[in-house]
Symmetry: C2
Subunit: 407 residues, 2 copies
C-alpha cells in the first residue's frame, strides 16, 4: 500500500531541495550543506512519495517514445546520427536535435556519454517567453545541472517542470497555471542515446531511482554507512522495490542491512540501549545516543515492511526483521511516554542522555510522531494498539491547544 501520507509529499519541489541530481536521479539537498548533499532520508522520502503516487495512478504512464533505437524506428533527427545495433541506440558526434512538440513534463532517455554530452531543451513558457534548459557534464563548473561520466550507461530522467522551478525560471504558483510546451531537444558532444521518451508521469521509475541509489550507496560505502541516516526508510524502499520488481538485488541489499540493527552504534551499527533496559535503533548514531523518536519509528516501519513483504519468500530475512521489529516495538510501548511533555512531544531524549535542554518537536515533527504512531498501531492489536492510539490522540489534542493537567 501507500507509505503513510507520503503520497501528499512533493519532495523535489521543497525549497531545501536544490535539484534532482542528473547523475543519480535523486534529490540533492542543501539542508545540511550549501553546496548540495545527497541526503539519504530525503532520497528515501522522494522514493516513497513517488511509490505512493504511483499507486494512485489509474493506469500506466501515458508515454510518447520519440527514439527507441530499434531498427527502422529512428526518429527524424536534424543532424547526423548512426544507429548502433547491439546497444539498440543511436550514436552522435555532432549536434543533433529533434522536434518534440509536447506538454508532457517527464523526459527520460538512456545515455552512453562519451565526450562532453550536453542536452538542451527549448521550451515555450507562453506565447512570448522561450527558455533553454541545459544539462552539461562535469563537476564544479558553472552549469545548471551536472552529471558525471563515471558510469557507462545511465538512465536520465527529468521532471522538466521541477527543473524549471529549481532553475528559477518560474514560480510554483505560476507553474500551476502555465503549460510549458517542449519544442525541441538538442544533444551536443559525443555519445549514444536511446529510449527518448516524454511521459505524463514516471512515479514508479522515480521510486526505483531512489531504490537504486540505495543499492549503489551500499556498494560504495562501508557497512555502517550503508543507508546513511535513513535505515528505516531504506528498508521500506527496498522491500517495495523487491516486491514490485521481483529483482532479488533489492532483497539482498535489505537483508545485508539487518545485522546492523543488532550492532551497537559504537561499532558502526544502529543499536542503542536505554539504561540497559530498552533497545533503540538510532537514526543518527551518536555517543551517547540521542533516541530520536521519528527515526526510530521509521526504522520500526521499515523492519515491519521487510518482515511482512518477504514473508514466505525469504523466511530467514523475514524472521530476523520480525524479531528486530518486536524488540523495538516493546521499547516504543514503554518509552513513548518519555517523549510526552504534556503539551507537545520532544524530538529526542538528548536532554536525558546528553543533559542538554529538551528539544521540543516542531509541530510538523509532532504531527509526524502522531502519524507514525497511527501507522504502527494499525498493524498491532489489543492493548499495545490501544496504548499507541491513546498517545496519538492525546498528542493530537496538544495540536488543538490541550495541556496536561497539573498535580
Amino acid at each position: 500500500g501507500p507509505f503513510l501520507f507520503f503520497g501528499n509529499f512533493d519532495v523535489e519541489s521543497r525549497s531545501r531541495v536544490l535539484c534532482i541530481s542528473a547523475e543519480e536521479s535523486v534529490p540533492v539537498s542543501f539542508q545540511w550543506d550549501k553546496n548540495g548533499y545527497l541526503y539519504p532520508t530525503q532520497i528515501a522520502q522522494y522514493g516513497l512519495s513517488h511509490w505512493s503516487k504511483s499507486l494512485r495512478m489509474s493506469g500506466p504512464p501515458n508515454r510518447t517514445v520519440y527514439e527507441s533505437g530499434l531498427p527502422g524506428a529512428t526518429a527524424n533527427w536534424d543532424g547526423d546520427t548512426l544507429r548502433v545495433d547491439n546497444l539498440k541506440c543511436i550514436h552522435f558526434d555532432s549536434d543533433i536535435s529533434l522536434k518534440l512538440s509536447s506538454t508532457k513534463k517527464i523526459l527520460f532517455f538512456d545515455l552512453w556519454p562519451s565526450e562532453n554530452v550536453t542536452i538542451s531543451l527549448s521550451i515555450l513558457m507562453n506565447k512570448t517567453q522561450r527558455v533553454h534548459l541545459v544539462y552539461t557534464p562535469g563537476k564544479g563548473h558553472t552549469v545548471i545541472f551536472t552529471y558525471s561520466e563515471e558510469r557507462s550507461k545511465m538512465r536520465f530522467t527529468r521532471n522538466i517542470h521541477n527543473d524549471l522551478l529549481k532553475g528559477g525560471v518560474i514560480t510554483q504558483s505560476k507553474l500551476k497555471r502555465a503549460l510549458p510546451f517542449i519544442e525541441r531537444i538538442k544533444f551536443s558532444g559525443v555519445g549514444c542515446l536511446s529510449n527518448l521518451t516524454l511521459s505524463n508521469e514516471e512515479h514508479y521509475q522515480m521510486f526505483l531511482s531512489a531504490a537504486d541509489w540505495f543499492l549503489r550507496n551500499q556498494d560504495r560505502n562501508g557497512a555502517g554507512m550503508v543507508f546513511g541516516m535513513a535505515q528505516g526508510h531504506a528498508l521500506s524502499v527496498l522491500s517495495r522495490a523487491y516486491v514490485s520488481s521481483g529483482d532479488p538485488k533489492y532483497l539482498e541489499a535489505a537483508s545485508k542491512a539487518l545485522p546492523l540493527f543488532s550492532l551497537p552504534s559504537s561499532k558502526g551499527g544502529f543499536k542503542a540501549v536505554f539504561l540497559d533496559s530498552y533497545v533503540w535503533y538510532e537514526e543518527y548514531p551518536t555517543n551517547p545516543p540521542s533516541f530520536v523518536l521519528n527515526g526510530f519509528m521509521y526504522s520500526l516501519l521499515g523492519l515491519y515492511d521487510i518482515s511482512t513483504l518477504v514473508a514466505g519468500e525469504d523466511d530467514i530475512t523475514s524472521s530476523e526483521a520480525r524479531g528486530l521489529y518486536e524488540d523495538g516495538l516493546s521499547s516504543l510501548l514503554d518509552m513513548m511516554y518519555l517523549f510526552d511533555v504534556g503539551y507537545r512531544s520532544v524530538y529526542d531524549l538528548r536532554h536525558f542522555s546528553m543533559k542538554s535542554p529538551p528539544k521540543l518537536a516542531r509541530w510538523d515533527y509532532h504531527s509526524t510522531h502522531i502519524n507514525l504512531l497511527y501507522a504502527l498501531s494499525s498493524v498491532q492489536n489489543g492493548s499495545s494498539q490501544g496504548q499507541m492510539i491513546e498517545i496519538a490522540e492525546r498528542w493530537t489534542n496538544y495540536m488543538l491547544g490541550d495541556y496536561s493537567e497539573h498535580n
Copy 2:
C-alpha cells in the same frame, strides 16, 4: 540554619489546615479528608516553619507565667483549687477561673485531665465584641476543639489568634489590625493544671510539638508508616530537635528510620529503583513507583541534615545517612533531566511508570523544585553543583515565559 524558605510559611493559617489539634498540638489538615487528617508533611512543615521563625527571634519568648503550681505561687483563682505538691500543679473539681488581661497570643499549660475538662477563654475582640473560645474533650461531638483524655499529662499549647481565625471569629485581614484582649480563662470538670502561661511566641515549642508528634507516631505505627509520607521532612525535624535539645530520643527516632531508605517500597520501605539503574526515595510509596520529585529532594535534604548534624556524635548514623544521600544525589543528577519538559517541570514520572498523562507541576511546586535544587546545590561543589544550578536557572526562566527550542 533555617530550613529553606520555610520561615515565610504560616502553615497553621493555610485554608486547607482545619485547626491545630488540641490533643497533638500539630495541624489538622482537611486537604485529603473532610473530617480532618493528621498529614505528616504538613506537620513537618509546621515544625520546620516554626524552627525557622524561632531562629529569627532576637531573644527568648516574652512569657507571663500565671500559675506555676509551685508552693507559694498559686494564682488568685476564682473558685476552689488544691495544690498537688508532687506534681507541682493545682487540682480543680469545679469551675475555676483566672483574670489574664493580656494581648499575648500564645497560651500554654500542662494538663492532667481527669473528667470532662473544658477550657474556655473570654476574649474582647474590640470595645463591643466579646467571644468565648471553648476547648472540650471527646471525639465526634459538636465542639470547637477536641482533645482526647488518653494521655495522663499533656502540654496544651494554643495560638489564640489562629484559633480565632479557624473558628471563623475573625478574618485574616481584620486580625492584622485587631489586638484581641484575653480577659479570663476558665476551667471546668476535674483535673490538674500547671505552668499556665501566655507568651508572645513559642516557635521553638511548636517546632518541638512537631518533632514529638513524629516520635509518638513512630511508636504508634509499624516501621513502614513511621513517618507517613514525610520521611525527608521528618529527618530534618528530628535532627534539628536533637541538636537543639540534646535529647537522644530524637536522634534515636531518626536513626531507626534510616534502614527504611534501603528497603524496597514493596516491603514497606521508601526505596524505588528507576529501570534497575537509579535509586529513588519515594514520598508516596506506590506500585509501580511514582518518582515524585519534590518528595525525593526533601528526602535528600533530610538525609543530608541528619548526616551533617550528627557527624562526630553518632558516626554510624551519620555515615549511613551520608551513603543514602550520595546514592540519591547521583540519581538526581541524572534523572532531574527527565522532569524537564521544556517549559515547566513535571511533578513525577507516573507518565512513564504508570503510563498515565504527564502531571505538570503547578507553578508553586515548580518553584519548590527550583528552591530545592538551589538548596541541594549549595552543599555541592564542582560539576554537580553546576548541573543543578543550570537546571534551576533554566526552570526559573520557564517561570518568566521561556520555552525550550525546537528541533
